[in-house]
Amino acid sequence: MALLQISEPGMSTAPHQHRLAVGIDLGTTNSLVATVRSGLAVVLDDEAGHSLLPSVVRYLASGEVEVGYAAQAAQNCDPHNTIASVKRFMGRGIADIDDIASLPYRFVDAPGMVQLKTAAGVKSPVEVSAEILRVLRRRAEAALGGELVGAVITVPAYFDDAQRQATKDAAQLAGLNVLRLLNEPTAAAIAYGLDNASEGIYAVYDLGGGTFDISILKLSKGVFEVLSTNGDSALGGDDFDQRVFCWMIEQGRFAPLSAGDARLLLTKARDAKEALTEHTDVRVTAVLSTGEMMDATLTQAAFNAMTAGLVSKTLAPTRKALRDADLSIDEVKGVVMVGGSTRMPCIRQAVADFFKQTPLTNLDPDKVVALGAAMQADVLAGNRAGDDWLLLDVIPLSLGLETMGGLTEKVIPRNTTIPTARAQEFTTFKDGQTAMSVHVLQGERELASDCRSLARFELRGIPPMVAGAARIRVTFQVDADGLLSVSAREQSSGVEASVQVKPSYGIGDEDITRMLKDAFTHAKDDMYARALNEQIVDAQGLIAATRAAMAEDSGLLSADETATIEAAIAALEKLIAGPDHLAIKRGIEALNAATTEFAQRRMDQNVRRAMAGQKLETFG
């Protein structure tokens, strides 16, 4: 491995101090922030010593926002303005939310993603999530004593592109630099795998408050390769609460509930579910604002019976994931349990029966995702040297295009390792057709209308030709965050169109800018000063990295090329001294453009060295 370490890119910049980076588990029920301190991953507590931040946000008429325990305490008395489990609404339209009637919120239908009417105005789930992330960012900055370089934010593996993009937008809104979106089960696998130095096939069963994921991973020589993933992005502990809630209504023979009473019963239902983790039965009582009441005993057996359907709903995706990975149950060496809902005895039993082995529960299922995310953030921030690990993750759902007759043509199948790119050629179906509409879809179903619509765009200006003569090449690129961008090009004329698959749920860059402005006014922060400061830090980092690379690999550049890069550095240095953050941004882009060829040559050299080392190892 010695040969490899010489070319380790993470080490190519000059020695630097520890860069502050965190991992954030943005959960349906609770959220956490963790970091790596002196080589150990630790969850950061608030001043009161709480690790968990309830993912609850309350909007007051004054414009003030409460997040966490304070908001949670107000849930029953102010149900319309107190948003819990907002993760379930990320990147989702009204039609996607099954139990909308039993939720106390005032939903507003908006293109792509629902919005919520609160005392402080209409809020998007992205804004609500950003409030949670902002509290965690401040908690981390206070604990670590400085500004964060960036954060790894976890998402359910089964999140689609819209949900991922919404999460990334929320982080941006909260002033966080997203180093990577990381799948929750993969994060858990890092924490477990590195803890136990494991090798082999592992399954991660992750049942959270509102989402279920199953991932099958192969751990080999420090590489975590996700073989397949499946799940249900609308199945979690909340659904178990809902079953108990319905049982309570039956027991009390309650008339239709007010929002406050519904919230009260849901809270009681959750308490009962949690009590059944430790006890075989629990007494459940509730007195409504109408004076109606209930008092009954819920046994574990009755609870298991009413939730059996939910438990088996997790096993179908588990079978699918194993089949996609082309593995049988006997080949799975261990099963890792993640998410607070895996504390339920019925879940543990069902998983043990299915995999014919006792699942691993030695790490706290509430914290393991945040800890893994923190470890990955530490790597991505460049704090670790050559001995680290590598994650190879996949896309959870197939990506495709709508074709004639409303059918789906898959371009990238599910469980393809990312980053990935694939191109498909299409043609015109009418003589003289000059425009073509491209509809990007995600999902496994044959009918386009059954898949999630990610984006629509038009390719115009195709030269008129007979039907079938035009050759339109549509290229999908999925980056390491699992986010898609699509471009289309008519081959003979070179007409081109591309989209960041983003605006389909109604939040464009303008909205983000407005929300950012709102947020900063609220926080009495100086947006301009902050933006300037960020650009200066970025520019300085870029100059230092470029200089280090030039010192290391001067042999890869001609005198002319060196002079061009030097000129771009000099220009950027001049801009840093000025007050214009947009000009600095342009200078950064110019320097990046000037070094692209150099970066390619450096990479070629890295690859040659790595493969040379590989051959020595193979034959040695």
């Binding site: 890119p9 910049t13 370089v149 990577r180 089949r323 460049g382 393809t416 450096r602 890295n606």
Partner: protein, 175 residues
């Protein structure tokens, strides 16, 4: 990135259908360790972009060589032959008969909701898949009979489709 390099050259492997899977996996890990965007997350944009391009290319090459059908198609493409050409559908009658029998067996298992029959079918199909792979290795690596190899690749693709159909039936019966 050298686009004239073949996927085999990229991983330092001999250009043949017979594959040392351990060597491919090891070379893939080594390459991704070197080029993956996670190795450049703290680096300038230019390096991050190059890393994404490289990692994308390495993934593509790995998937192509790893899967029996795509490896065959790729090797034939290197010989200038399009094995999946839509005009080329020649297929041995005996193979087509066998296909029909398998398909009927799948339908029967599905109609009768017989999981054990599906399990047995899966084993049969996998065994047949392995046999065809061995033939393909022979045709490409030893006999250099690329016309016959094209037909064999198409047979292998049929097998993949059948195995996927069995998967769909499992899914249907389980839900």
């Amino acid at each position: 990135m050298d686009f004239t390099q073949t996927h085999f050259e990229l991983f330092g492997l001999p250009q043949s259908y017979a594959l040392d899977r351990g060597k491919l996996d090891a070379a893939y890990r080594e390459l991704q360790n070197t080029v993956h965007p996670d190795r450049f997350a703290a680096q300038p944009d230019a390096e991050q972009r190059v890393a994404m391009q490289w990692a994308t290319q390495v993934n593509e090459a790995y998937q192509t060589l790893k899967h029996p059908v795509s490896r065959g198609v790729y090797l034939l493409k290197l010989q200038g032959i399009d094995a999946l050409d839509a005009n080329n559908t020649k297929m041995a009658p005996a193979f087509l008969m066998q296909q029909m029998e398998w398909r009927e067996a799948i339908d029967d298992a599905r109609a009768g909701k017989r999981m054990a029959a599906l399990d047995a079918l899966t084993d049969d199909l996998r065994a047949a898949h392995r046999r065809i792979e061995a033939q393909l290795a022979d045709l490409i690596d030893t006999a250099h009979d690329y016309a016959a190899a094209s037909e064999t690749v198409r047979q292998l693709r049929f097998m993949d489709k059948l195995i996927a159909e069995v998967g769909d039936v499992y899914e249907e019966l389980e839900s």
